[in-house]
């Protein structure tokens, strides 16, 4: 029983990371109409920048706060410089460009910080909490708190502010928004900046659990994709719920199903993706894809 609770809590923690990254991808998908393959690498890059700041002696929570504007600027710049010229073209062109960003960012990370793993400390205490015999990692609880906080902040931004409304309008109908005077390019850039912020924070949360090296997010990438597939490609709520389900499910399957064990977790995620696309392609919260002739 204790193991079950531990697995679930740990699963919610990793799930919140998958969900947040998935949310970032869904936001960009809705606004820029592109699958941001580079999301993982943006997160890794951000985690490394945070590491640099931490090792320059800046206290953790100052670094955390500093990462917000820094990553935002990075994401905004990325959109303006690289993505913008290709927005009007075909989808496959944009996909190739984003793949190029993926590879280039990965290479840049290796170049700047080298391939040797570094360690990113957790700001939360090392000793687990003992709650009635169940040991729950403080870092997991902290991760859940931070990521849920971010998700809540994003919810407030989109649903309670004018900026959020403008961004939603841009994603919904770009042409009409332009006619209304909404600066579409700016809105898209803000979307990318947000995605970068979410990515960096997710990276900072997951790095203490894994190893901080350039391959940090490669594994997470697949889980993130399964999260947004399960939730529905264009649904922000779906991304979050999907992420939590994938996080918990991955832990439970890996532990209780001997067949899968630790080795086949990634292929299990692939299997999930295929199953969802076969049975219910729009995922849990998406709308069925309708083609107009």
């Amino acid at each position: 029983m204790e193991t079950l609770i531990q697995l679930i809590v740990s699963g919610i923690a990793t799930g919140s990371i998958y969900g947040s990254l998935g949310l970032a991808v869904v936001l960009i998908l809705r606004s820029t109409r592109a699958l941001n393959f580079a999301q993982g690498e943006m997160a890794t890059f951000g985690a490394f920048v945070a590491w640099t700041l931490l090792h320059a002696g800046i206290p953790y929570w100052f670094t955390f706060l500093a990462m917000i504007p820094i990553s935002f600027a990075g994401g905004f710049a990325l959109h303006r410089i690289i993505v913008r010229p290709f927005e009007k073209g075909s989808f496959s062109r944009l996909v190739m460009v984003l793949l190029g960003v993926f590879v280039a960012l990965n290479g840049l990370t290796i170049y700047i910080w080298g391939g040797i793993p570094k360690s990113l400390e957790s700001p939360f205490r090392q000793k687990p909490f003992d709650i009635g015999g169940v040991f729950i990692s403080a870092h997991d609880l902290g991760t859940i708190g931070v990521m849920l906080g971010i998700l809540f902040a994003i919810y407030l931004l989109f649903n309670r502010t004018n900026l959020g409304l403008a961004m939603r309008a841009t994603a919904e109908n770009r042409a009409s928004s332009q006619l209304l005077g909404i600066p579409v390019g700016l809105m898209l850039g803000v979307g990318w900046g947000l995605a970068a912020v979410v990515g960096s924070i997710a990276g900072m949360m997951i790095a203490p659990k894994l190893v901080l090296d350039p391959t940090l997010m490669l594994g997470v990438l697949l889980y993130m994709f399964s999260a947004i597939t399960l939730g529905g490609f264009e649904s922000p709520i779906g991304a979050v719920v999907g992420g939590l389900l994938v996080g918990v499910g991955e832990n439970l399957l890996g532990h209780y199903v001997d067949f899968i064990g630790n080795e086949l977790r990634l292929p299990a995620a692939l299997f999930l993706i295929i199953m969802v696309l076969m049975i219910r392609p729009q995922g849990l919260f998406g709308r069925p894809h309708v083609q107009r002739v």
Partner: protein, 363 residues
């Protein structure tokens, strides 16, 4: 037109207009055959790899260039072909010249299998599935229940190839010719595929799938076929890989390979068959060039090739979306038009003489 040329083209059963191109192809083939005797062993090996990548790129040209299905999982099919060939050599004592086509066959079957659900997937879903396949292949290959066949993380050693008895060739030269044979065979198959019904169906389904369907193109069948043929060529390339490198492991076939192949496709020209050669040269030689570039620039460390691939991919998409071959074709046709219009307007160039219809004057 010169009557001697006319006699020649009649005898060869080639249309006069295609004569320059046919000659060019023959010359290129001759040069390719001459190469291993002219350059060093290492260079020959590198060009064997170029032919390998070119074969894989033929598959990607069909799938992504012609049929418009962006796949980031092509490297996984190369891996499947490599492992199929390697395992067949280990478990069933296949000879290499059976194992390579076997790799192609397994690639064809599995490609078709993955293509079956492709109709139901939107473009986004397809790219996600393809990259997921590429990401999950390594854990599957390392799985403990099959690792006695796949060699797990330590990989499989492939028996070295011996040159057929009566040929006066060294090992590395024979391997090069093996790669050349595989590539040329694949090229012939692709040419006939793309010029026929399949090619037209793929073009129409890429450009406007709804219109294509309403014209009677069965999207499900043609998409499955696209994946199957992509798998075929990738599998052949994979089999070649095992034979050339003599060692296959899960680490040889990461997502990076799939992205590399896409980059090569884009550099060469997405929908051009000839583009596979510049694309393959790019894939093989960029890591070497990136070392040279790092040394030329005042950098204190080696530039990871990833940066170069990424920058090239983005630049090519911006500057030459149709790749090297596309740029060459554009330049050619622009020059052609310029000359024609100069002629017509009585410009600098003299008008061409009209073809003689009278008997020649004893040239």
């Amino acid at each position: 037109m010169n009557s001697r040329v006319k006699n020649l083209t009649d005898k060869l059963n080639v249309s006069p207009a295609a004569l320059p191109r046919t000659i060019a192809v023959l010359v290129a083939l001759a040069l390719a055959c001459y190469l291993p005797f002219y350059v060093t062993e290492y260079r020959t090996f590198q060009f064997s790899l170029v032919l390998l990548y070119a074969t894989a790129l033929l598959g990607l040209t069909v799938l992504t260039g012609r049929a418009g299905l962006v796949s980031i999982g092509h490297g996984a099919f190369v891996a499947i072909g490599a492992y199929a060939a390697g395992i067949s050599m280990h478990e069933w004592s296949f000879e290499y010249w059976m194992a390579i086509p076997f790799g192609g066959l397994i690639g064809f079957l599995l490609g078709g299998f993955f293509g079956l659900p492709a109709l139901r997937l939107s473009a986004h879903a397809l790219t996600i599935v393809s990259i997921s396949v590429a990401l999950s292949l390594a854990p599957i290959l390392k799985w403990k229940h099959i690792d006695e066949y796949t060699g797990g993380s330590t990989g499989l050693l492939v028996k070295p190839v011996s040159v057929p008895g009566n040929l006066a060739l060294e090992d590395h030269q024979w391997l090069y010719f093996l790669a050349l044979i595989v590539f040329v065979s694949a090229l012939v198959v692709v040419l006939s595929l793309l010029s026929g019904r399949l090619g037209r169906a793929w073009t129409s389904s890429r450009d406007h799938e709804i219109a294509a369907e309403s014209m009677g193109v069965n999207l499900a069948v043609y998409r499955t076929m696209a994946f199957a043929f992509a798998g075929l060529f990738a599998g052949l390339a994979g089999g070649l890989y095992g034979v050339l490198i003599q060692f296959i492991s899960p680490e040889s076939f990461t997502v990076t390979l799939s992205i590399l192949l896409l980059t090569g496709l884009v550099v060469g020209g997405r929908d051009t068959i000839l583009g596979v050669i510049p694309g393959a040269i790019f894939i093989e030689f960029v890591p070497i060039w990136s070392d040279d570039i790092s040394r030329a620039l005042p950098l204190d460390r080696d530039l990871p090739p990833g940066i170069i691939y990424g920058v090239v991919l983005i630049s090519v998409m911006f500057l030459m979306p149709d790749g090297v071959m596309g740029a060459i074709k554009q330049a050619w046709s622009m020059g052609d038009r310029a000359i024609k219009s100069a002629r017509r307007s009585g410009g600098v160039l003299p008008a061409r003489k009209e073809p003689e219809t009278v008997v020649e004057h004893g040239e």
